[in-house]
């Protein structure tokens, strides 16, 4: 089937529209949270959370324990289960971060343990490598999502956006100078936990499409690119959001066109954009030095 035929087919175009909706919201949320995480030197938390999410997905898909038949209709609570697990991990990582073990060690523990346990589960249950591959690297361009999951995803992502907007000024303050914030009565701990939880839920709703290994790329790269271009926090936040959404759309259409996997394609575009901005800023810096 050709590219244009794909869109002409109502069944497939519905799938594509759903996929764009999910991808758009996930790219938006992760790029906003990414700014604060990158500046806090805490961007690897995305890796820890999503890799452990892989384990949760493995449990949910192999045991089907969260697929419940209600009035003859099958409803899946897998997404809710995964969200509970990953949010819990986020809270535990922050706890460990506050104690003596350094945060990156805590992240590494969950990151590797998640992948290992998840793979073992797939091995034990004899699932084929296709499943493993999909949950690690994300779906192909044909991304299927049930209507209930789609609604859930939209509600969660709108909540994340709303929280980010409402707490924007405080997120800036605790990211810029946590000590000053604490001293003047803005609890840095509370907002750190909030950012971690919002990151956790964003990762869970994005994981199926983008893949457990790829999703943290959506957190890191748009923020890094935006920081090359903008010098104000607001500018970085807005630019990061715009970059992320544009990179997603480009990546998604390329993935559709060539039947690539969405996650890796989008992240590749993100990386490409980052390299371009890095190069531009390096050239600019060089020009500045020359002109002095």
């Amino acid at each position: 089937m050709s590219f244009t035929q794909m869109f002409a087919d109502p069944m497939i175009s519905e799938i594509i529209i759903k996929a764009i909706l999910v991808g758009f919201m996930v790219s938006l949320c992760s790029s906003l949270l990414g700014v604060s995480l990158v500046l806090k030197r805490f961007s690897m938390i995305g890796d820890g959370l999503s890799h452990f999410g892989f384990f949760a997905v493995a449990i949910a898909t192999t045991t089907k324990a969260f697929d419940i038949i209600l009035n003859g209709k099958q409803i899946s609570f897998a997404l809710e289960f995964e969200m509970a697990v990953v949010v819990l991990v986020a809270i535990i990582i922050l706890r460990i971060n506050n104690s003596k073990t350094k945060g990156d060690a805590a992240i590494a523990i969950f990151s590797t343990a998640g992948i290992a346990l998840g793979s073992i589960i797939y091995n034990v249950t004899g699932n084929n490598t296709m499943d493993v591959c999909t949950s690690l690297f994300g779906s192909t361009s044909i991304f299927t999502i049930s209507n209930t999951d789609l609604v859930f995803t939209m509600i969660i992502s709108l909540l994340v956006l709303a929280m980010f907007v409402v707490f924007y000024s405080r997120i800036f303050a605790v990211t810029f100078d946590p000590e000053f914030s604490k001293a003047t009565g803005t609890s840095a701990n509370f907002y750190n936990t909030l950012i971690a939880i919002l990151t956790a839920v964003t990762i869970v709703i994005g994981m199926k499409m983008m893949g457990a290994i790829m999703i943290s790329g959506l957190i890191i790269f748009p923020a890094l690119s935006a920081m090359r271009v903008c010098k104000s926090f607001k500018g970085v936040v807005l630019t990061s959001a715009v970059f992320s959404v544009i990179c997603f759309l480009i990546g998604f259409f390329i993935a559709c066109r060539f039947s690539f996997q969405t996650g890796p394609t989008v992240v590749t575009i993100d990386v490409g954009a980052f390299l371009i901005f890095l190069l531009i800023s390096k050239l600019k810096a060089r020009k500045k030095v020359e002109s002095i």
Partner: protein, 235 residues
């Protein structure tokens, strides 16, 4: 009732006491200079006053309607990340957050306050500039403006002139003196630059894990002169 009253305070990191027997008071309009060598416990004391560090023993009381979160704090500049993307306006504006309780967005009054404080410090024209691109002295002024937005009554400054050249240092001391004298804001300033720092202070706390001296500046100078005369162990 003084603004801040510190009684038999001892401070520790993980049970290891770094400063003890601290007693002093700060009244409205005072300018207290806390001096002492590096590592003598000055920053630790300041963190305790701000509630950033748990008190090991003793107490810190606030009076005259001052609460702990209404203290304007200016950290050591080195504590702030170097490549952080933020404009000066964004930084100063964040100083008003403490007084906002649960309101999510900045109000007109907040913005007016920012304008006023930036004007007092002579940094209106830096509003849109990137914080990371400023000189050390300019950054200090921005951080001081932020501190002013967080308080009506008292500011705490940790080594405000470290790393500044002599001219900018003198300017900084001048600004702090003006805030104290003209705007009636009490000042607690930490410094290891004893000679320059105590010039405009009203009170001195000389700290070396324990207070070596607390009293007015004049008493301190007499005390020092006497020690010098007797060849005592000052320094």
């Amino acid at each position: 009732m003084p603004l801040i009253e510190v009684k038999d305070l001892a401070l520790a990191y993980e049970g290891h006491v770094v400063a003890k027997n601290i007693n002093f008071t700060v009244n409205e309009g005072d300018y207290l200079c806390i001096i002492g060598e590096n590592g003598s416990g000055k920053t630790t004391l300041m963190k305790a006053i701000l509630g950033l560090l748990k008190i090991y023993s003793g107490e810190i009381n606030f009076g005259e309607g001052l609460t702990q979160t209404e203290i304007g704090y200016m950290p050591q500049r080195t504590d702030i990340q170097k490549d952080f993307p933020a404009t000066c306006y964004e930084v100063v504006l964040s100083g008003t957050l403490g007084s906002k309780k649960f309101k999510p967005f900045y109000s007109k009054e907040d913005k007016k306050r920012v304008e006023e404080n930036m004007a007092i410090l002579g940094i209106e024209d830096l509003k849109k500039r990137s914080f990371q691109d400023l000189s050390g002295g300019q950054q200090q002024r921005v951080l001081l403006a932020r501190a002013l937005c967080a308080t009506e009554k008292i500011i705490l400054l940790d080594e405000p002139v470290t790393g500044l050249d002599p001219i900018v240092t003198a300017e900084m001391y001048g600004i702090i003196k003006r805030l104290n004298e003209e705007h009636g804001i009490a000042v607690i300033m930490i410094s290891h630059d004893i000679a320059g720092a105590i010039d405009s202070a009203s009170h001195i706390l000389h700290l070396h894990h324990e207070p070596l001296f607390f009293g007015t500046k004049d008493e301190y100078l007499l005390n020092q002169a006497a020690k010098d005369f007797l060849g005592g162990e000052n320094k």
